[in-house]
């Protein structure tokens, strides 16, 4: 049964991708319908899979000897992310019915979205590191293809190429990790190394650990790879919500959390992970304060919140990291889709031109405010509980206190920019002649469940912790009931401090006119932040370098078949000669 469900969750979106593409762009209604049907079916299959998470079943697809069998294990981490990917995926697809109504080439759009959903599910469910690498790269490919969906727009194409090249460095890290594992143990099995990291020599384990850290940082847009995510905002907004907020960028956090028991003993690894998370959270939050593009603010806040999760993994709070991942997926998808409704309605992403839109779009304002309050970490919303859990994890295990202090400051900054964003878009006086109308019916259908989720997913804390603790024995997560977790959060002193900092952030926005002097003093910071603290230049140099060297290599591609075959023959001669010289005659 579990086997069938796993195959369905991966296979249904892929099948849907094929159908949407085959339906042809002359039948847009059929394409919308097919995409919604297949993504919903996959979502249901993934939800049905959750109960199997406790059984620790292992599904093996025998593929013959060479690369080990393809194994899938629906454990707690896997099923939960598979459910997030498919459920939010189907909501994004439903949202697209309105958002992409007047677009051409829907076949390409839906085929890549569904292809992505299937690959994401495969990525989190497989326990074969080579297969995981394959899925990892499929998600990178679809992300690139969807960022550049408007391929007549130069900025979209450049953003896609940038994302592709930068995330390739991460893919390289994962490949190194996989090869190191295979070279030392003769298999790609993840479960063995997690249960018993001692089977690898310490040096090899360190290579693997830092390779996976690079992979996770690049995928999750963490320091120093963070600048591809803001440029990825050229994608259609449902894609930003699905791939660049709720699912793919979580793959990095997932990878680090999955391998935590194996790598935690590697000297310096945990500190490196915490530092990466802290720097990303801080830098991105400062950039979000000064950004004026609505989607870029959301992108920076995604980087910042992912920084919280990475920090939590490094601090040993696997449950806190995953719980925040769940909260963040829901409220950030809500914010992105809400922003999509705004952008679709007014036709610009520049917040300086918006203002006072709330009157014309009350529904979008309502759900967007719910999402923003969760992002700021205000009580009762899901973001509050999970963020407090992360801060508590930072306090435990003897982690450095100054890092915790930075994270506290970041939560104040988060509250500040969340409030600024909501105010600039929905309140105040209209600053430009914009014609706004409320969201369409399909958009509302997608937004409402996310808003309800933002208000309620924290109630799942207990069952979520039980699921993780039962299915991941190596991670040593303690199971608590919802009540215990909530009580723990409410009585911890750090919660009070965090709430004070958040309130301080809100007050700063409230009294922004009186703080004009401070703002002037920070002009220098503003300029550096708008330039991404110089990392934009570094990343751009890397991308340009890759493109230039590719352009130079192009001259070797003569396009003449004869020479291609000639090089093959020369390579054959080379290999045989090396064999002859190195091995000698048989």
């Amino acid at each position: 049964m579990a086997e069938l469900l796993i195959l369905l969750t991966i296979g249904l979106p892929w099948l849907g991708a094929l159908f949407c593409w085959a339906a042809g762009d002359r039948h847009p209604r059929l394409q919308h319908g097919l995409a919604v049907a297949f993504s919903l079916a996959a979502g249901i299959a993934a939800l049905l899979l959750i109960p199997f998470g406790k059984d620790q079943v292992l599904i093996t697809l025998s593929v013959g000897g060479a690369f080990g069998n393809f194994t899938f294990s629906p454990d707690g981490l896997g099923v939960f992310l598979a459910a997030v990917a498919t459920v939010i995926g189907s909501l994004a697809v439903i949202f697209s019915v309105d958002y992409m109504r007047s677009e051409d080439q829907l076949g390409r759009y839906y085929a890549f979205v569904l292809f992505f959903i299937g690959a994401m599910v495969g990525l989190v469910l497989t326990t074969n590191l080579l297969l995981m690498f394959a899925f990892w790269e499929i998600t990178a490919l679809t992300s690139y293809a969807l960022i550049s969906f408007h391929n007549d727009d130069l900025k979209a194409v450049a953003g896609g190429i940038k994302a592709l090249i930068i995330t390739q460095f991460g893919g390289l890290g994962l490949l190194i990790g996989a090869l190191v594992l295979f070279a030392n143990t003769g298999s790609y099995d993840i479960l063995t190394i997690i249960a018993n990291p001692g089977i690898l020599p310490a040096g090899a384990l360190a290579w693997m650990a830092f390779g996976c850290l690079a992979a996770g940082a690049a995928k999750s847009a963490q320091f120093p790879f963070q600048t591809w995510l803001p440029d990825a905002m050229e994608a259609p907004t449902p894609v930003s919500a699905l791939i660049h907020a709720a699912t793919m960028v979580n793959a990095g956090v997932y990878l680090l959390a999955r391998f935590f028991p194996a790598f935690e003993g590697v000297p310096g690894w945990r500190e490196a992970v915490m530092a990466v998370g802290m720097l990303s959270a801080l830098l991105a939050a400062v950039m979000a304060i000064f950004a004026t593009d609505l989607k870029r603010v959301l992108a920076y806040s995604t980087v910042s919140q992912l920084g919280y999760m990475v920090y939590a993994v490094g601090a040993g709070g696997i449950f806190a990291a995953q719980f925040h991942l769940l909260s963040h997926s829901v409220f950030k998808a809500l914010l992105f889709l809400g922003a999509g409704a705004v952008i679709h309605s007014v036709g610009t992403r520049d917040m300086r031109q918006m203002g006072g839109l709330g009157k014309n779009m009350p529904f979008v304002r309502l759900v967007f405010v719910i999402g923003a309050l969760a992002l700021a970490g205000l009580p009762v919303l899901n973001g509050f509980w999970s963020k407090e859990l992360i801060l508590e994890a930072g306090l435990a295990h003897g982690n450095p206190l100054w890092m915790l202090f930075v994270m506290l400051v970041v939560s104040g900054l988060t509250a500040f920019y969340s409030f600024r964003m909501v105010w600039l878009v929905f309140y105040g006086q209209p600053r430009a002649e914009l014609h706004a109308h409320d969201a369409g019916p399909a958009m509302k259908v997608a937004l409402a469940p996310l808003a309800i989720g933002t208000l309620t997913t924290w109630l799942l804390a207990g069952s979520f912790s039980r699921l993780l603790s039962e299915s991941l024995p190596a991670h040593q997560i303690a199971a608590h009931s919802t009540g215990e977790i909530l009580l723990e959060v409410l009585t911890a002193p750090i919660t009070l401090i965090a709430l004070l900092v958040i309130a301080l952030g809100l007050v700063c926005w409230w009294q922004r006119d009186r703080l004009a002097g401070v703002k002037r003093a920070l002009t220098g910071l503003q300029i550096t932040a708008t330039n991404s603290f110089g990392f934009e230049a570094v990343n751009r140099a890397v991308v340009l370098g890759a493109q230039n060297s590719a352009e130079k290599l192009r001259s070797t591609q003569t396009g003449v078949l004869g020479w291609n075959v000639a090089y093959l023959v020369i390579a054959l001669i080379g290999v045989l000669a090396i064999l002859l010289l190195g091995v000698g005659l048989p």
Binding site: R554, S555, Q557, T558, G559, V560, G562, A566, V569
Partner: protein, 103 residues
Amino acid sequence: MTISIPTAVLIIVLGLVGIGIYALLTTRHLIKVIVALQLLVKGAMLALVLAGHLTGQDDLGQSLAITVIIADTIVAVIGMALAVQVRRVVGTLDLRSLTSLRR
């Protein structure tokens, strides 16, 4: 002079592969390329059967040969479909005019 069975088969294998590669190196006609690929792959297929025969694993070699036959047939089919479309769009089957990706 008598030659042993494996030697004779080896001659066929090397001959077919050599002729195939030679034709790939020199021909300019798209359909001739497919002919050359067919010859080359037939050599490879026979080599698999021969290798299975020589090592006493006849069945393994034959099961691989089946895969090669399928792959090779499909390569031929798609190659010819490509040739028909190229002829329609470009107007010639000369490989030298199919270098539009080049700068």
